[in-house]
């Protein structure tokens, strides 16, 4: 299958990229690794008239530690994240995305700007309480991950904005786990649950739980978190908290998983993820 025709620019500077998006109008799209956009274009489910390729923009790749954060450039590939174990949960999650070839091209910025709640990184951003930097015609702004994902495939990234970096807090003292459930390991998550836990003397000081593909946006399982925070990390307490994991969710049914089944999976995977992270 072949994409519909489009105009193409590959600007050298961020300012040029923002200008090109502005000039291109509403059907202009930013191109990073292209692994969310190009498959849609090949199936002609998307037909942008202009692609602004940001591969030449300087400084958008790589991971570095800055003041209690990991600064991750938007063009950093999933493979780089996978091979950066110091990133903790983000690295663990990235390693489960699709397959090696996809991880070599797909980028964190592209994934977050696309905002598919079935993809793996968005929920991890909620759990790590990351923030993203957006550059647009009116300058720079910073958004918490929780404010980024607005609706199904809809994010707060403006039409002329470029997501340039992701800042993930360094979660010293937390352990992490991601349980991704799918038919085949290369598939999208039927449901995924990521969790970070900080424990002291067997007590849960903090827990954060992220849900993948449990609705139109990624979400936190706050009821389950609240039920466990401050409690002893016993199997009973973990199970009781996990039983609340699907509270407030309304996942869509699909061929492989009904809403009821997804809600059930969320509780099972939450229990397993917390148990692993606390173990």
């Amino acid at each position: 299958m072949i994409p519909a025709a489009f105009d193409y620019v590959a600007p050298d500077t961020l300012e040029q990229a923002i200008q090109a998006l502005a000039d291109g109008g509403e059907d202009a799209k930013l191109l990073a690794g292209g692994h969310s956009l190009l498959p849609l274009m090949k199936l002609r489910l998307a037909a942008p008239t202009m692609l602004v390729d940001i591969r030449k923009l300087p400084g958008l790749s790589g991971v570095e530690r800055q003041d209690g954060h990991w600064r991750i450039g938007a063009l950093t590939t999933h493979a780089t994240l996978e091979h950066s174990p110091e990133l903790g949960l983000v690295s663990e999650v990235a390693a489960t995305i699709a397959d090696p070839q996809v991880r070599h091209r797909g980028t964190i910025g592209g994934s977050l700007a696309h905002g598919d709640s079935a993809s793996d990184l968005p929920a991890a951003m909620l759990v790590t309480e990351a923030e993203v930097t957006l550059q647009g015609p009116d300058g720079q702004r910073t958004l918490a991950a929780a404010e980024l994902f607005e609706d199904y495939l809809t994010t707060a990234v403006g039409e002329c904005e470029v997501l340039t970096e992701v800042r993930v807090p360094v979660l010293d003292g937390y352990d992490h786990s991601y349980h991704k459930f799918n038919r085949r390991s290369e598939d999208w998550a039927m449901v995924g649950v990521c969790a970070v836990v900080r424990a002291a003397g067997g007590t849960c000081e903090d827990v954060r739980i992220g849900l993948t593909n449990m609705g139109s946006v990624p979400m936190r399982a706050t009821a389950a978190e609240d039920a466990l925070r401050g409690k002893e990390l016993t199997a009973e307490n973990i199970s009781a908290a996990a039983a609340l994991a699907a509270e407030g969710t309304n996942p869509p049914s699909d061929l492989n998983a009904s809403a009821e089944y997804k809600r059930h999976l969320a509780t099972v995977l939450t229990r397993r993820a917390i148990t692993d992270a606390a173990g």
């Binding site: 299958m1 072949i2 390991s185 492989n256 089944y261 099972v268």
Partner: protein, 788 residues
């Protein structure tokens, strides 16, 4: 690990590495999309988004006006073709409703993807743009997707037929009602064998090149000769003017055993436009229009004595054929009926088949074609019977096996199995798989909440398709002889070219046939080239399907080589002043028995045949042709064991061990046999656990890409343990049987039995495929059986 060469006389039986591989591992293969002809036009189809509709208008003007577009055609433009697409099964005494099926729809579309128009232009990008500009207006018609609804008076797929029923067909032996009357226990089940896609990794494709009155068609097909015949008939050409070439073919699995409308459209358009026309299918097209497989619902009934002896076996199959009959569509369930008794001695067996149209992609032969369905019915029902009788799953099989003394064994339905030793394969399986150790481990794991299950499948199948006297017009009703041809040509230097009428596409027949010929002629297999898939280079052939290429095509090659040997012996006898009957082929030489030092190599014989003087009465040259039609089918068999772990909380089942003992007669190349078994088994695991073609109630295809149609990857599959017993077939001189479909025929039943065994303690008595996580979870958590 393979061997790289074998000495003359030592090829057969050796794990010789493949002759096919060097181009394929270096990117030098030649698949359909790798072939370019100067001046080629590209073709793309406008396809129906509707499952059932009248076409009220087609506006091609915008598409035709685009840059790079040469022509846009609709069904009306193709009015001059000689008739609709073929269906080649006419069972004597059986009425088969067969609606007209055109390469481009005329007035009505009957499934999503039905082609409505074709756009032809200068490159593949131009035509893929232009198809979006063809405007088709439809008037929706009622859609029927569920075969049970279709047969029970649902909306008509083809109104002119007045029914959705395609045909009724029965094969019976003994008296099943009498058998049930004798039974102490009767097990009944509704066995659903869901629809799957063939899904070769290479989609279909063609290049048609009509020039100066002759047509050359390159097509990714398993049956170039059938395609030639029908292209000639439908285009009003004589066969001498049509050459069909199957280049390297990237997998077929039955999907490319077909005469497709796209092939005809490309040929017709090339003739019309006097330019070569190329079409390469997209995966999305392949998933919606290349014929699919299975899709049977069977009401099965098995009666037995308390000791487990089966007294009667009655199967009523409703087979969903989709929107049209393709070349062999209505025959497919009958292939299962021929082995409906499996490897068991059942005095009373009956299979009743009803075919039905629905607004879905047509079905036809897909790897196994009727036999995986039959095996599934038998093996899951037998396990249930064992459970109800509190008999061991091994013991109930042993009590019912056809004993080896019975072979050749006439079954209740009159089908005669050629050879078998079912106890031996099961014994060998149990040598490889300690069932007692498994059971204690299973008990221990259950106490930890891990549900592990064992599924057995002991099976036989019918393959080596041939023989014409049974399959042909007066027998089963296929409108073709299913013999096979071979030509063997020894060149001046003693190198050999073999032509086979089969059309292999991955099975390794080049290597296997070279091994057969090499030993007979006293040369190394490396100097035997095997060519196939080109109607212009050898005799008429029948192609590759039904695990026939070795037992039928290979035997033709063997018999043809025997003719070469006979002639060579006469030449050698004259040279060595001996009697031809005293000449033997030993150590790479034709020599007088007992005098190996004075022999002649094949090159020397060829030298005389082509350059020197052949004995009086012989023609010069060293080349022969053979047509071989066997007396019977061949019946491979085996015993497989599958172990699964089921995560009871999520319903996810994973195959963790698979042991396969197969018997396909004498091995020509054991490495190739193992490869066929591995691949066949994964095809069956794929159906059981992962794959499913699904249409919604509106007839929209939900599983239209490889995102949703889940072929297993390496990450889902374990290593396999394979072993063999050898029970030669008496049907052919080599004692061989087929093995291409065996693994698939066995595996889905083994997996299903394993999953049921795993979750029986959780209250699940039975469930149908696909054994997907949600369905298994639902079965565990629902009241009673899940038979949906």
């Amino acid at each position: 690990m393979s061997v790289t060469s074998a000495a003359p006389g030592g090829s057969v039986g050796a794990a010789l590495r493949r002759k096919e591989d060097p181009p394929l591992i270096t990117g030098m293969g030649r698949y359909i999309d790798d072939i370019s002809i100067t001046g080629t036009l590209w073709m793309a189809f406008v396809r129906s988004p509707e499952a059932h509709a009248k076409i009220t208008s087609i506006d091609t003007s915008a598409a035709a006006a685009r840059d790079g577009i040469v022509a846009v055609f609709t069904g009306a433009d193709m009015a001059d073709i000689g008739g609709p697409l073929p269906m080649a099964w006419v069972p004597p005494g059986v009425e088969v409703n067969n609606p007209e099926h055109w390469p481009l729809a005329r007035d009505e579309v009957n499934h999503v993807g039905d082609p409505v128009a074709v756009v032809i232009g200068e490159d593949r990008y131009a035509v893929s743009d232009a198809i979006e500009d063809v405007v088709v207006e439809y008037e929706s018609l009622p859609v029927v997707v569920d075969p049970e609804q279709a047969i029970a008076g649902g909306p008509l797929v083809h109104e002119s037929l007045g029914t959705n029923k395609v045909h009724e067909w029965t094969l019976a032996g003994g008296d099943v009602e009498a058998g049930f009357a004798e039974a102490d226990v009767i097990v009944e089940r509704r066995v659903v064998n869901h629809r799957i896609a063939g899904a070769p990794i290479e989609c279909r494709g063609v290049i048609a090149d009509y020039r100066a009155g002759s047509l050359t068609l390159h097509s990714s097909t398993q049956v170039p000769h059938f395609v030639r015949l029908f292209m000639a008939l439908l285009l009003g050409l004589t066969e001498d003017r049509v050459r069909v070439i199957a280049p390297d073919v990237g997998g077929g699995f039955g999907q490319k055993l077909q005469v497709y409308g796209e092939e005809l459209t490309a040929c017709w358009a090339s003739k019309r436009l006097e330019r070569p026309v190329k079409w390469v299918e997209t995966r999305s097209e392949n998933m919606s229009v290349a014929h699919q497989g299975r899709d049977q619902i069977a009401q099965v009934r098995m009666g037995a004595k308390r000791d487990g002896t089966i007294t009667a076996w009655h199967v009523k199959i409703l087979a969903d054929f989709g929107a049209y009959n393709m070349i062999l569509t209505p025959l497919i369930p009958s292939l299962g009926a021929f082995v409906m008794g499996g490897c068991y001695k059942i005095p009373n067996v009956q299979t009743d088949i009803v075919g039905v149209f629905t607004n879905k992609c047509p079905t036809d032969a897909i790897r196994g074609a009727g036999r995986p369905e039959a095996t599934q019915m038998i093996e899951v029902t037998l396990d249930q019977l064992a459970h109800e009788l509190e008999l061991d799953m091994v013991e109930i099989r042993r009590r019912n096996f056809i004993p080896k003394e019975d072979f050749p064994a006439a079954t209740a339905t009159g089908v005669v199995y050629d050879s078998g030793d079912y106890h031996a394969t099961l014994d060998r399986l149990l040598e490889n798989f300690d069932i007692d150790a498994f059971r204690s481990e299973q008990q221990r794991l259950r106490s930890e909440g891990i549900y592990r299950g064992l599924g057995l499948c002991t099976w036989t199948e019918i393959c080596g398709l041939a023989p014409s006297r049974i399959t042909g017009p007066a027998g089963v009703g296929v409108q073709a002889g299913l013999w096979e041809s071979a030509m063997v040509r020894v060149h001046n230097t003693g190198a050999v070219t073999v032509y086979t009428g089969t059309s292999p596409h991955g099975q390794g027949l080049d290597t296997a046939m070279a091994q057969i010929v090499a030993d007979k002629l006293g040369v190394e297999a490396s100097v035997v080239d095997v060519i196939h898939g080109d109607t212009g280079t050898g005799p008429e052939g029948r192609g590759t399907y039904g695990s026939r290429s070795l037992a039928t095509g290979g035997e033709a090659v063997a018999k043809c080589t025997d003719k070469i040997v006979a002639k060579a012996k006469q030449i050698v006898a004259a040279e060595l002043e001996a009697a031809a009957e005293d000449i033997v082929v030993e150590n790479g030489k034709f020599s007088v028995k007992g005098s190996p030092d004075t022999g002649m190599a094949l090159a020397d014989v060829a030298g005389i045949a082509y350059i020197g003087a052949v004995p009086e009465g012989l023609e010069p040259g060293l080349e022969e042709t053979t047509f071989y039609d066997p007396e019977n089918f061949v019946f491979p068999f085996g015993a497989h064991a599958c172990v699964v772990d089921v995560d009871a909380e999520t319903g996810k089942a994973s195959v963790i061990r698979y042991v396969a003992v197969d018997d396909c007669g004498n091995p020509i190349n054991p490495m190739l046999i193992e490869g066929q078994v591995h691949g066949g088994v994964v095809y069956g695991i794929g159906q059981a656990l992962y794959e499913r073609v699904h249409y919604d109630s509106e007839g929209q295809l939900v599983t239209g890409t490889f995102v949703d149609y889940a072929i297993p990857t390496a990450a889902e599959i374990p290593m396999f343990e394979t072993d063999r017993t050898v029970t030669p077939s008496p049907v052919n001189s080599m004692g061989v049987k087929g093995v291409g479909e065996a693994g698939t025929i066995a595996a889905s039943a083994a997996v299903t039995n394993a999953v049921i065994d795993a979750i029986r303690p959780l209250g699940v008595d039975y469930m149908n495929m696909p054994l997907s996580p949600m369905r298994v979870w639902e079965a565990i958590h629902s009241e009673g059986d899940s038979e949906s």
